[in-house]
């Protein structure tokens, strides 16, 4: 009974804050609305006896949103929301597509005979996840690790202002860079 109420609150809150992301005027508020949406979603996950995953989601989302707030403020004007702002394009089309997708998915949800499992639920799902990741799902682990590493390298490469090709020019093995723009590494 209590779980049902909590679930309902969390679900409604998640969707509402999700909608709010795109309705508020300020970028900072949008970011925090998104954070709220994630927290509510994590709440529903906690209700499924997935303690580790719920906490993981909470922690990760807090970190991400905070980082995102910094970037938002860097790139967008009107951070405090003092003036109303909507920057949308193709709103009607998007609404139509989104509405159509939701209708299709809802129809599927209610029409498809979902399978039920008769097996008992494990007492410690976290342990089961850990054993799986270190055992039969090791490949997933490794791919995720590689993926993260690749992302790090890619982002640094993309975001570097002036790389060594800009600073050294043609003489890549020179001891000191010949860079007209002062500052940077290797000084």
């Amino acid at each position: 009974m209590w779980t049902q109420i909590v679930f309902g609150v969390c679900a409604a809150g998640s969707v509402a804050t999700g909608v709010a992301v795109f309705r508020v005027d300020s970028m900072a508020r949008a970011t925090f609305a998104l954070l709220a949406s994630f927290l509510f979603a994590a709440g529903t996950i906690l209700l499924l006896n997935l303690a580790y995953l719920g906490v993981l989601v909470v922690l990760m989302m807090i970190m991400e949103m905070v980082v995102m707030v910094v970037f938002m403020l860097m790139y967008m004007m009107n951070p405090a929301g003092l003036t109303p702002m909507t920057m949308v394009h193709n709103q009607k089309g998007s609404l139509a597509i989104a509405g159509g997708v939701f209708a299709a998915l809802a129809a599927c949800i209610f029409l498809v005979p979902w399978p039920t499992s008769g097996q008992p639920r494990p007492a410690d799902p976290t342990r089961a996840l850990g054993e799986a990741l270190m055992g039969s799902k090791m490949l997933v682990m490794m791919v995720l690790g590689l993926c993260l590493f690749a992302t790090m390298v890619a982002t640094v490469v993309l975001a570097t202002h002036r790389g060594r090709y800009d600073r050294y020019g043609d003489a890549l093995r020179a001891k000191r860079p010949d860079d007209p723009v002062r500052g940077g590494l290797d000084r």
């Binding site: 979603a41 499924l48 790139y75 967008m76 193709n90 997708v101 949800i109």
Partner: protein, 101 residues
Amino acid sequence: MTLQEYLLLAAALFSVGLYGALSQQSIVMIMMGLELMANAVIVGGAAFWYFASPARPDGQVVVLVAVTLMAVDMAIGFAVTTAIFRRRDIDVTDSAADLKG
């Protein structure tokens, strides 16, 4: 708490995220839409694990992958935005119409 309720929640989150990804002009706002869609995957994955096959940890692995995905895509997205901003001093996708035609 039934499977259908959870899935309905996931579908709603997905639709909202899709609306955002399609309608927003700013790159960062598009990314927020993508985050919401990944959020829907997280909820859906967890629900399927709990109701359809709790004995196997595959559902949890899906959730983990989705979380990692969110982190990765945010990182790359911001790197690309920085690169474009440095080059052209804009942060909306409408100007990046290089693939037109």
